[in-house]
Each structure stands twice: as C-alpha cells, then as structure tokens.
Amino acid sequence: MAERLRLDEAVAELVRDGDSVALEGFTHLIPFAAGHEIVRQRKRDLTLIRMTPDLVYDQLIGMGCARKLIFSWGGNPGVGSLHRLRDAVEHGWPTRLELEEHSHAGMAARYAAGASNLPFAVLRGYVGTELMERSDTLAPIACPFTGETLTAVPALRPDVGVVHAQRADREGNVQLWGIVGVQKEIVLASARSLVTVEEIVDELEPLPGAVILPAWAVTAVAEAPRGAHPSYAHGYYDRDNGFYQRWDAISRERDSFQSWMEEHVLAGVGAR
C-alpha cells in the first residue's frame, strides 16, 4: 500500500545519494516540487533519467545534484538551450556530467522494457546514426525468426521513479489524465516510486481515458499543490509558457541562476 507522506519526508526516505532517479512527465505533469525538494535536501551523485531534461533537470544539474544524465532531448521546448545542462557538458560546471544519450523512441522502449521486467527492448531505430557507433547501450540484434537485424536497448530500472498526477484518494490510488507520457511505465519500472499529486480526495471520480496507478503499485504519495508548475496539470492549471521563456535569461549566467534558486527554491526549506 502506498504510504502517504509529506513531500520532504518522502524525498528523504526514497531518494539516496548515488541513486538513479527518473522524474518523468512528458511536458505535462513534470514533478517540479519533488525536484526542488531534492535540491533542498542536497542529494548528490544522482544518475538523472528523463526523456526531456527540461527546466527541472537544468535546475538539479546546475545545483550539483547529478553525476550522470540519461536522456533523449535536452532543450527548453520552443525557446532554445538548457543553459545549465550546456554549462555542465561544455565546461564541467558545477561538476562534470556524464551523458548517456538515446532517441525518444529508444527511451520509451527502455522504460516499457523495465516495466515489463525484460532485460532489453527491441526496436527499429538508430540505424545509420552516430549514436549507434558511440553508445555501449545500443546493439544490433538478429530476429530469431526472420534473421532481420534490429536494435536492442537495455531496460531502464531506476532506483526511484517520481511522477506528478492530478489526484489520489486517501488509500493512495492515483489518477492522472491528459498527456499521460511515460508516467505509468516509470512507476512500474522503478524499484521505489513517489507520486506527488495536486490534491487528495475522498473518492476518485472515474474519467474516460484516465490512467489509474493502484495504491499497491506505488511506494509513496505526497500532496504537492501546483507541484508541476511551470509545467502543468491538465484540469488544474495551464503550462506557464511565459516562465519557460523567462528561464532563458534567468539560467543563462551562473550568478543569476544561483540567486534565483536561492530565492525560489532553497528559501523554501521546511516550508512543506
């Protein structure tokens, strides 16, 4: 049964230094509040896993939480660069960042394989690209039935999977809808999982197309209203596109980034 915890308790209990951690949410339902709590608790040497690192990993990387990044598209959508990610890769600031790079299709397949308790996934992809030549997490594989050559990618089994969702009931059953991304896959692929939610309700009203994560498949649930902002929670608030655009200037220089994090994230110690 999912434990109901405060966000700071949940992060303290589930996330350990050196863990591989996936904070997922494809544009929608990105768990920013949980990311900020990881920053406040000064977790270190994390292997961060996310298809689109987005602002949330720009913040964690810039604050020195990460040792390695496993990803497929590291930009600020529609805006440009993730400056903190670039600074880490190009100049090793604040620490060197190892990269394990894939395509979206490959990352999605790796999560699905992890959720399915398979050692690897098979897809048509990567062939002819330089990723294929450079990566030790990509390998050609022959179909045992036809002999056709396909590409194998290893499953992702993070130590901790973190997602945001619209709501949960008091038992810890989670409901989410809209763009569902890889939320289900990451919770099922991870050894431990944390779901932050907009609100805890008495009863989950059934919604067509909604994803349910049953309480017995989730390690912990924590209430975090507006916990996806500046990403969004469908039915609760919209994506703050203005903030995504402003982040470009905030994050461009180390100083302006650090003062923003001091003021808006670190100052919130114990606030939850």
């Binding site: 598209w73 959508p77 190009e90 994506r239």
Partner: protein
C-alpha cells in the same frame, strides 16, 4: 504585402503539405507550418505530436510539443511508448516534419553537437524524436535556414539519416521511409536528385539569386536546369501566419 525570409520559408513548408496527410510535427517552425497548412489549404491534415496527441487542432500556436491545448483538441491522446511504437514505427505517418542545426548534401541531419561529441563547442538538445521520424515516416520535409554554418560539407554528428552516403544507403540500412523529399530554406527549395540523392536547388524565393544560395552552401551546390521561382506568399497566407505567431507572443 512585404514579408520576412522566415515567413516565406514557413509558407512554402505549409504548401508542401497536401490535404489529408498524417503529419508528425516537431516544435518550432515545423509546428507553425503544419498549423498554417491546416488553417488554409489542408484542413483535413492530421497533426501528430510526439507527446502522444493524434489529430490536434490548436487555435493558438503551442510553445512545447505537449501544451494542454494539443491534448484538448486531439482526436486521441496515447502514451508516449505507443506513439513511437504503434504509430510511427508501425508505419502510420505520411510526413515527418523536421528541423536541424546542420544538414549535408545527402540531407543527413545534425541536432546533437557543434564540435567534438566528447568536448563539444555547443551542446545542442539532441535527436529527440527525429532519428526514428527520419527513418520511419513515408517521407520527410526538412525546414532549415541556409548558410555556411548550417549547410555543411561534413556534419559534426549524424543524428538522423537522410540518404546516408548516397544512393542505396537507405535500403541497405533497412530504413522503410523514402527519406527527405524536400528541404525548405529561407532562400529556396532543394530536392534530392533522383539518381544521385544529392540535394539540388530546384526553386528560389522572390528576390533571391542562385549565387546567394551557392554562397550559403558549404559544398558545390547543384542547381536544377529548370529552376523555378517561388510564388510569393498570398495576403491570406501571411494574415493567418501572423495571427498564429501572435498567439505565441501573447504567452510571453
């Protein structure tokens, strides 16, 4: 009506989309062009975004590939593993619409790094959905500004495959789609030569000379014998395009 180079590029890209095609759309210029097509000559074009939205009909231009409006106006929203496995790899996409930081003469694309991969001068976002879109879509439209920086003799990194090292390479690699059929720039339009697969300038935009296009290309640019002139954007195309773009600025 006067217009900017980026506007003519977007309008020409929109015109390249015929009605009732199923189009896998990347963010930025591809999304702008695909929505322009949908709001003008191709109302039945199906827009698919990699966030899992199928048949999105946004009234405002999305900033990201996963804005709420894309889900609200979609015929269906599917999980991300499904959009790549069943719909893209499954061969359901007619046209993939891609941008890039660099392109070479065989329309291979770099969206990964400028400089060396292990110590890059500029770390770009990376391939994202593009490598499999370039492989699987029945055909690919590329939109990219044309300059010595973007049209290069040798890519710094091959993120997505166009025609590889030349004729026969797509077949050899087992890539099911036809590859890039048209490359649209701010100067004109290039298409792969049917025999050599090499990008050939087939069309120039109003006011652009062949010499300009040559100077903006990092290899010896081939030019078609029957070079065409782009029809200037109509006032209706420009009106809809500007209205769309103003919705994006309003979000700032």
């Amino acid at each position: 009506m006067t217009f900017e180079p980026e506007e003519v590029m977007t309008v020409v890209a929109a015109r390249a989309l015929t009605d009732e095609t199923v189009c896998f759309v990347g963010i930025g210029l591809p999304s702008t062009a695909a929505n322009l097509a949908r709001l003008t000559h191709a109302p039945r074009t199906v827009l698919v975004y990699e966030s899992g939205t199928i048949g999105s009909k946004p009234a405002t231009l999305p900033l990201s590939i996963g804005d709420g409006e894309l889900a609200e106006t979609a015929d269906s929203v599917v999980p991300v593993p499904e959009i790549f496995a069943y719909w893209l790899q499954g061969g359901r996409i007619d046209v993939g619409f891609l941008g890039a930081a660099q392109i070479d003469r065989f329309a291979n694309l770099n969206s990964t790094v400028i400089g060396d991969y292990d110590s890059p001068k500029v770390r770009l976002p990376g391939g994202g959905g593009a490598p499999e879109i370039a492989a699987m879509a029945k055909e690919v439209i590329v939109i990219i500004r044309q300059s010595q920086r973007t049209f290069v003799e040798r890519l710094h990194f091959r993120s997505s495959v166009g025609f590889g090292d030349g004729p026969g390479d797509r077949e050899r690699l087992g890539l099911p789609g036809k590859g890039p059929t048209i490359v649209i720039t701010d100067l004109g339009v290039l298409r792969p030569d049917p025999d050599t697969c090499e990008l050939t300038l087939t069309q120039v935009h109003p006011g652009v000379t062949v010499d300009q296009a040559r100077e903006a290309t990092g290899w010896e640019l081939r030019v078609a014998d029957d070079l065409e002139q782009t029809e200037p954007p109509t006032s209706e195309e420009l009106r809809v395009l500007r209205e769309l773009r103003s919705t994006l600025e309003a979000a700032a």
